[in-house]
Amino acid sequence: MDVFKIYSCFKIKCLFFLIFLVELSTSSVEIPRPRGVSLSRAGLYDPEKDFTCLDGSKTIPYDQVNDDYCDCNDSSDEPGTNACANGSFYCLNAGYKPQILASNRVNDGICDCCDGADEYTGRKSCINNCLEIGRAAREEAARYAELLKIGKQMRTELSQQGKKIKNEKQAKLNELRKNKEEAEKIKTEKEELKKQAEEVENKALEYYRELEEQHRKQKAEKESEKLREEAVDNFNKLDSNQDGLIDISEIQTRQTFDRDRNGEVTEEEAKIFLDNQDSADLETFIEKSWPLMKPFVTLESGMFKPPALESEAEDLKENDEQNEYGEGDHEAEEEEEEEESDDKAQHEDIENEEHITYDEETQKLVDIATEARSQLADSEKEVRNINDEIRDIEQSLKKDFGPDEEFATLEGQCFEYSDREYIYKLCPFDKTVQIPKSNSLETNLGRWSKWDGPNNNPYGLMFYDHGQNCWNGPNRTTKVKVTCGTENKLISVSEPNRCEYAFEFQTPAACRELSNESGTDLHDEL
């Protein structure tokens, strides 16, 4: 091919053909063009003519092209030097692929082009390793193509499974909805039965209720009598001058009443027990003073732990824990607390219940009612369970498992990655977590939010947010880069920003060609 022919075939179609040719060939094609100019632009630099800047702003003698002085505002007169601030340099890289560099990379002592064309002053000698790089790149491309081929098959299978799962879920949902109707019907029946049984039971128990009420009253009277006795007893003890009145000084003598524990019972402190009067007679004492005093007196005798103190201690402990770990899983703590208090309440109920024996017939009726109640509870539970299941499935069906349901099989699985300090878990479509190896306190790094990949690969990135809050910072989030691989595997975890985690996950589900793969196109606008 002679030079003239190349110039003459300077048409777009021809150009692509040329590039194609060059990229395939391993030996460089010599075309006279200024240094740093791509083949496609070679025609714009005609040594026979003055050079006009490509933006048309200026015309200069041809010998000022690549003379290491920037004349054109668009940098086009210095394609082969570093004279222009925003110029670009083209290297052919025969055997690999052409490259366009910022012209400030030219002659900077760093070999940027694999053919070394960017370093030509002789100060830095670059090895031309385009062939090796090209070979390696082609091998890599072949390896990837192979991976993609296998991966795509697997993806197809996954997609079929995914669709099956989806259908199954749909079917299950329909079934559950039916079951729900059924269960609700049963529940209504059981409600009716319970109502009837309880009516009968109630009537039968009326007698026993009255009995019970009498018992309670008697007991209360007894207790109030005891309290009064106790009060009188203490009144007498306190009334040291026996004048039938308890006055401030009589209270002040007792350290027991040092409410703020400053070693002294002040007048104010004493007055609190006397209904803010200077003294109290027996009746006032019984009614007002003693109920206030009793905790102090019993505390002193070591029988009583004031509840306020106990909860304070707990608070302290809680704070300590928070401090130690910097942050606590508040939700979990709260739940625990609730359970605890429920337990306590039940326990007390049982203790306080007095055992009453019914006659045989009444007992029978009670048993029937109890059975009815239990059956109703069961049927309610059944409805609840079905509702839960329906909700789960509905939520799952709402999730985006990819255009072909190829990611659906990942739901419900978890994948682990372990580094020096932690084990990380990715449970796709659910959450990401971090577990220290030293203990097993799990930290939530984010809950499934959405697919967040770029437009050309929306399923290339998963986003998990609203993880556990960072001290003095945001809630933890995780971005999971999803790439093609022949097995499901979490391959790396890092924390590029504090509390922002980056996972990399391989799965055959991600094996497909992307609309614009990794910018191998070399733009060469004219």
Partner: protein, 903 residues
């Protein structure tokens, strides 16, 4: 880097939003300050005894007596120092303990010069040196300094001079006539800390009256305006000098922070004079400016305007040490600063890369992170020279070790960096982890290298590693050991391209009083920490400097320090510590660095973006646009902040930051030349307007700075503004060219409209600025690139400028005179280049372009004449829109003199 958030946070749980003042003493809480501040102006109890006057060629010595305690023997010494400086010292004769004089602040012993006795009798002695004169008055003590016959400074005019000699503790019930009954004199408590004060009170003070002065400047480091405020007004505490690690320091404050440089300059348009208070103990300085006097005296002034006299009173108070000060006689601010620098030294010419862009973060996670960040800068064509590693690179905060997992192959990481001309800086702090098996700790214990408690046991404090001890850099054997730690054999993974960041060297002690070391700790030589505190960081960095000199004898060391003292400039660059991502902190970085520059420390910068918290993108961009105009230019961020490397943002933001970075890199020849001139001529690199323009209008301007004498910058540090006000000095004949548009302005006040792209920066008409306009990925790659000269013409159509160059890294410029120092002159339409020094450096650098701002009309071309090229015709072109003339490609080497005549 006070990474305090974690520790404080545990206690407070809420986000701490500002400094906790309770952690730091007020004057009232500091026994000696409280005591000395109670003195009222009046007749001084101090008398000089001229009956036993001792006068030699250079020295006047006289006995000084406090009439309250006449048995105490004090001696006052007056000497003249070369360069129009006087020195006055007062010390005890045969005192109970010796008093400390800073060991490292002075750049060698100041050279004395001849004092002429002009007159003497028992009441007064008058001596002179050159045009300056000192009058010593005996009863009461008074020292007056005259330039020619103008009184410029009076010591003890208010009678507030004080000298607490060392004494035995008075018996119970006895009252000390001098100390009275101050409860903190013999022991002192602050919060839970107890200072045992075994040597009792030892404070000193002196007041300086500066007649006719309008302002005082100096006393860095404070988060405050350049011009010092009147203290005692509005309950303002005195300016405090006590190196402290202050978490989230506040602005507009006289509180002490990381550094202490006890020098002040009293300035009026007619005259400037300075005082360098040579003391390393805790120091408080009261300022009283006549402009701030109360309403009653203003009324008097109004009624009787002739009584209106401007003056400034400055009173230094220190806790211990010799009373020793230098009077810098000026008579201009420039000469006073040079006098100060002649005493305490300059920063030697740094390597070029240190003036380029530094990228830091607490912390880059691992070696791959470092490599990736650099790669991203390259991908986005953002220049970058230095990557930084904060404390997390170490194995468990043990300095001189690497985390073997995250930084498993530092050699490889470093060679990745240097392959593109980049460097690495790693942090080394002075606290040493107390851990068995850690070689440094074991060596320090074995050889007794640590600071001691007063009972002689090793002091333990709490810092990053947990329980730590502190190297005693006052011990010569400690320094001798310490400097060897930097050898490449010992500190594996480093190379001749790895440099050092010394942080936390106030010293910072998390559980110590005021977050520092207890004052009754003891250093080598028996000095209490009280005596030497402000010098600790300086002593630390001297050790590092010696270590790096030893390690890399052919390369100029680079060290960044946070704590600093007078003289630190000889060894280190400094930065303004842990600032905040707030507009106010962006703004204050200029007055802070200007103040440091007057205090001899030119190599100053502030964390770009702000250390604490997350800057919004406007603030970040503005911070880059401002940061390029401070000598030290580094972005840094707290570990809790979001990543903010510039490439992480949208294209418009990247482009703006790239423009800013490129401006910095283009001006590197200017910065480098200025540092050469700093080293050789003692001129600050960054200068306040008043340094060159003794105009009344500029005395309070500190949002504007001069880079040398040729560039004026007024960084935009206000959010969301569409215009800013700027004052251009020099009067209506002065020319100032907008640096981006080349628009010509004359001296005066302007309101300029700005957008996010605007840099408010000007070239001074009359200056020639050397630039390198080819953007590269790092400064190392620019070593051989050609220069463009920007010739900004003044009203007379003349201009001049200088250019310095060498190999940009070694000591050959000193050892073998391998450098080129050029003077460019432009007049009569002709630019000439001549060598200022008869030296040479075999450089390939050449002149690629000359840009003339405000050019003459009707130019058709240019003629270059040089020895090797002969006469060459050059093309010129005129840009009608921006009104500048370009001379195309002179192509001449900078090694030979040349001329370019416009024709």
């Amino acid at each position: 880097m006070a990474k305090w958030a974690i520790i404080l946070g545990v206690c407070l749980l809420n986000i701490v939003v500002a400094v906790d003042k309770n952690n730091f003493k007020s004057c009232e809480q500091s026994s000696f300050c409280r005591r000395l501040r109670k003195y009222q102006p009046g007749e001084s109890t101090y008398h000089l005894d001229f009956s036993a006057l001792h006068i030699t060629d250079n020295v006047v010595e006289a006995q000084l007596i406090n009439t309250q305690v006449p048995e105490v023997n004090l001696k006052l010494t007056l000497t003249a120092i070369i360069g129009n400086i006087f020195r006055v010292s007062v010390d005890e004769v045969n005192g109970l303990h010796s008093r400390y004089k800073p060991q490292f602040a002075l750049n060698g012993d100041p050279q004395e010069t001849k004092l002429e006795v002009v007159a003497r009798n028992l009441e007064q002695v008058t001596v002179s040196s050159g045009d300056s004169k000192v009058v010593l008055t005996a009863k009461p003590l008074k020292i007056e300094f005259y330039t020619k016959d103008k009184l410029v400074n009076v010591v003890n005019s208010k009678g507030l001079f004080a000298f607490e000699h060392y004494r035995n503790k008075p018996a119970e019930g006895e009252t000390d006539p001098q100390i009275q009954d101050d409860p903190g004199a013999w022991e002192e408590n602050f919060k839970s800390h107890h200072d045992t004060k075994p040597r009792g009170p030892s404070a000193i003070a002196a007041d300086f009256n500066f007649p006719n002065a309008e302002r005082v400047y100096g006393l860095p480091e404070h988060g405050d305006s350049l011009s010092l405020k009147s203290t005692q007004q509005n309950n303002l505490d005195p300016y405090r000098l006590y190196n402290l690690d202050v978490f989230e320091y506040e602005l507009d404050s006289t509180m002490a922070i990381y550094g202490a440089v006890p020098v002040v300059y009293a300035v009026s348009p007619q005259h400037s004079v300075g005082v360098f208070w040579h003391n390393a103990a805790e120091t408080w300085v009261d300022i009283k400016n006549s402009k701030d006097t109360d309403i009653i005296s203003s009324l008097v002034d109004f009624v009787n305007p002739s009584s209106k006299e401007t003056f400034v009173d400055v009173r230094f108070m220190s806790e211990s040490g010799v009373l020793d000060f230098f009077v810098l006689m000026g008579p201009t601010l420039k000469s006073a600063v040079k006098q100060y620098v002649s005493l305490t030294g300059v920063h030697g010419l740094p390597q070029l890369f240190t003036l380029a862009y530094h990228q830091s973060r607490w912390n880059y996670n691992d070696q791959d992170d470092v490599t990736t960040v650099v790669a991203n800068f390259d991908i986005h064509n953002l220049p970058l020279d230095v990557m930084w590693l904060d404390i997390e690179y170490t194995e468990g905060k043990k300095y001189f070790t690497w985390d073997h997992i995250k930084f498993s192959n530092p050699d490889n990481m470093v060679s990745n960096l240097t392959s593109t001309g980049r460097k690495l800086v790693v942090i080394i702090d002075p606290h040493i982890k107390r851990e068995g098996g850690y070689f440094l700790h074991e060596d320090a214990l074995k050889h007794d290298f640590y600071v001691k408690n007063k009972d002689g046991s090793v002091y333990e404090g709490w810092c990053w590693p947990g329980s730590s001890s502190y190297l005693d850099f006052y011990n010569p054997s400690t320094v001798d050991y310490y400097k060897k730690l930097y050898s490449l054999d010992n500190f594996k993974g480093t190379s001749h391209d790895v440099w050092i960041w010394n942080d936390m060297n106030e010293p910072s002690v998390f559980n110590g009083p005021e977050i520092t070391m207890p004052k009754d700790c003891v250093h080598y030589g028996g000095w209490e920490h009280r005596d030497v505190h402000n010098e600790y960081a300086l002593a630390h960095t001297i050790g590092t400097y010696q270590g790096l000199r030893l390690r890399s004898p052919h390369k100029r060391p680079f060290i960044l320090t946070r704590g600093h003292f007078a003289g630190s400039q000889r060894y280190t660059a400094m930065w303004t510590g842990d600032n905040d991502a707030k507009w106010s902190h962006l703004a204050v970085s200029f007055p802070m660095c200007l103040s440091e520059a007057l205090g001899g420390i030119s190599f100053c910068g502030a964390d770009v973006g702000g250390f604490f918290n997350n800057p919004d993108t406007e603030l970040l961009q503005r911070w880059y646009q401002a940061g390029i105009w401070l000598p030290f230019f580094r972005a840094h961020a707290h570990i809790d902040t979001k990543r903010r490397e510039p490439y992480l943002f949208s294209d418009d933001i990247i482009n703006r930051i790239r423009t800013a970075l490129r401006l910095r890199y283009a001006h590197l020849p200017l910065w480098y030349t200025l540092f050469w001139e700093h080293e050789t001529q003692g001129e600050p690199v960054l200068r306040p307007l008043l340094y060159h323009y003794p105009e009344k209008e500029v005395i309070d301007i500190d949002n504007t700075a001069l880079i040398g004498n040729s560039v004026l910058v007024r960084p935009v540090s206000e959010p969301g503004v569409t215009s800013v006000e700027v004052y251009l000095p020099g009067g209506s004949n002065a020319n100032w060219y907008d640096l981006s548009t080349f628009t010509l302005y004359h001296g005066g006040s302007y309101k300029l409209s700005v957008d996010l792209d605007t840099h408010v920066a000007f070239y001074r008409g009359g200056s020639i600025i050397p630039r390198k306009d080819r953007p590269r990925r790092s400064s190392t790659i620019m070593h051989r690139d050609p220069f463009t000269l920007y010739v900004a013409l003044d009203n007379e159509k003349t201009a001049s400028g200088t250019l310095y160059l060498d190999d940009y890294e070694s000591y050959e410029y000193k050892n073998a005179k391998k450098y080129i120092y050029l003077l460019f002159n432009y007049s009569n339409n002709k630019l000439t280049s001549s060598l200022l020094d008869k030296t040479d450096y075999p450089t390939e650098e050449w002149i690629e372009k000359v840009v003339i701002l405000g050019p003459p009309a009707g130019i058709k071309g240019a003629k270059l004449i040089s020895k090797s090229l002969g006469t060459v015709d050059l093309e010129t072109s005129y840009d009608k829109q921006m009104k500048y003339l370009t001379v195309r490609k002179p192509g001449v080497s900078v090694r030979e003199p040349f001329s370019i005549e416009l024709v």
